[in-house]
């Protein structure tokens, strides 16, 4: 069976740094937001340790999100058929492939996912810092009071949006499309997989 390389070693390292830090942040964040889930902090060494680690893992998350921007921004530019693809998103979701324009390396849904997550990440970082260091940082602040309260609202709202997108991302990347997870684990996909999901890209790729 012929294989095509989809993600390089560096891309995979960055992706999993981003993904695992996201999951850590999501779960500790939910623990801080919902009293019934506070027990999750035990998995992170208890409340004070979780409070200490959450922002630092957030820094790791931001760093890897910034890296994905430099790796993928060029590939993620919306162009040509993307508008038609998005119009056909219902057909795509219900597996009526005939009405969906063939995708290149990334389909328009993946591109929008990338840009939405990047934008949410920026808001997330910006709103997280005042909550992290309410006494002020780098000559800014103090943020105690109204600023922190508004930032908490933003931080939670972006978590909610990002969390929902993550659920869809994990679903599509694992059980919905077998073969996709492998692309992010060992870096390769089968030619059949490429032909099915990314036909325009498949044509450009030589066998390994």
């Amino acid at each position: 069976m012929s294989r095509i390389e989809r993600f390089t070693y560096f891309e995979r390292v960055v992706h999993w740094t981003l993904g695992l830090s996201f999951v850590y942040l999501l779960f500790t964040g939910l623990a801080f937001s919902h009293p019934r889930l506070f027990w999750i902090t035990v998995l992170s060494g208890g409340g004070p340790t979780a409070r200490l680690l959450h922002p630092w893992v957030g820094m790791l998350f931001s760093l890897s999100l910034g890296s994905t921007f430099f790796i993928w921004a060029k590939d993620m530019r919306l162009e040509g058929d993307d508008r038609a693809w998005l119009k056909a998103i219902r057909a795509y979701a219900t597996r009526q492939k005939d009405g969906v324009p063939p995708a290149g390396k990334y389909n328009a849904g993946q591109k929008l996912f990338f840009w939405t997550m990047t934008a949410l990440g920026v808001v997330h970082l910006a709103s997280g810092i005042p909550i992290w260091m309410p006494a002020g940082v780098l000559g800014l602040g103090p943020f105690y009071g109204g600023t922190v309260n508004v930032m908490r609202l933003l931080h939670y709202a972006t978590t909610l949006a990002g969390g929902l997108l993550l659920i869809v991302h994990v679903y599509l990347g694992t059980v919905a499309y077998p073969g996709t997870l492998g692309a992010m684990l060992h870096g390769h996909v089968s030619r059949g997989w490429a032909r099915l999901h990314h036909p325009r890209w498949e044509k450009e790729q030589a066998d390994l």
Partner: protein, 294 residues
């Protein structure tokens, strides 16, 4: 002062605890009275004996201060200074006035700090009205500071916990008045049940009005459900000069919106999970031909 009955430490509210809070069950509640401290600003002579008594009883570290051209002992509250007499010198009707505010926790009936706290049991409100920080459960996030409409709690960089006046809960529990009340040489601070203190405040306000302080008023703000430290304010029309917020609230807009969004939040996450599961059950995996052979 007559000996007061011991007051109830039955827990009324607890931070970050799902409602209905099990500790709210009627069985363990005593229905005991709420207590309150009443500060008659017109009787304060600015001696700061209360500050010393507070440090002494609560065994708080003495902090070096500096001269900043004020009669105030310290520039601000701190994790080791739970009580600070704030002095503001202003002109009222051509006369220099010394407006003094006893800056410490007001022990709100609707505590903004408690509502903002994400750590279960780090902030509790007892049936007697005292709002107490339990540092054992504090995670050091400092959200209580932003939740407080009076800017009272202070973070200790050393212990990574937040501290504030606990109304000498260990004295109140056994029927004693808080240390500041005990030490005040002019009886500017009174202590008793909330009802008695509101009644006493009425008399004090009337007396001030007779003396010509026509704007004298009781500061017991409704936006936080009333407080368990109240002030008799001689110049009730100049609250800002006393550094007292006009209309404090326990749930400012952003936090009220956040609480609402949280109600939706878990539901939306749940629907997201259910939605993908239903999608899988309906459409199953989309397998490439070569993938199947592999």
């Amino acid at each position: 002062m007559a000996q007061l009955p011991g007051s109830s430490l039955a827990i009324k509210r607890m931070s970050a605890s799902p409602d209905p809070d099990p500790s709210l069950s009627r069985g363990i509640r005593t229905e005991g009275p709420e207590f309150a401290k009443l500060i008659d600003i017109s009787r304060c002579i600015g001696c700061k004996g209360c500050e010393v008594a507070c440090k002494e009883w609560n065994e708080l570290k003495v902090e070096p201060s500096r001269n900043f051209a004020s009669f105030q002992s310290h520039p601000d509250l701190s994790s080791d200074t739970w009580l600070l007499m704030r002095f503001s010198e202003i002109e009222v009707d051509g006369d220099l006035q010394w407006l003094i505010k006893k800056d410490a926790c007001l022990h709100c009936a609707e505590p903004g700090c408690l509502y903002a706290c994400p750590a279960p049991g780090a902030i509790v409100q007892y049936e007697n009205g005292i709002v107490d920080f339990n540092q054992d459960n504090c995670i050091g996030c400092q959200l209580c500071i932003s939740g407080c409409p009076f800017d009272v709690p202070r973070f200790s960089a050393e212990t990574k916990k937040v501290y504030k006046c606990n109304m000498c809960v260990d004295r109140v529990e056994v029927g004693l008045e808080p240390a500041c009340v005990k030490t005040c040489p002019t009886n500017a601070i009174s202590w008793g049940t909330k009802d008695d203190m509101v009644a006493l405040a009425g008399q004090k306000v009337d007396r001030l009005k007779d003396r010509g302080f026509e704007n004298a008023t009781l500061y017991d703000p409704e936006g936080v459900g009333g407080t368990h430290m109240m002030y008799v304010v001689p110049h009730g029309d100049r609250l800002a000069d006393y550094d007292l917020p006009e209309d404090p609230t326990a749930a400012p807009g952003a936090l009220a919106a956040l609480a609402g969004l949280k109600q939706l939040g878990m539901g939306m996450m749940g629907l997201g999970l259910i939605g993908t599961a239903l999608h899988y059950l309906k459409y199953g995996p989309e397998v490439a031909e070569e993938e199947e052979q592999a």
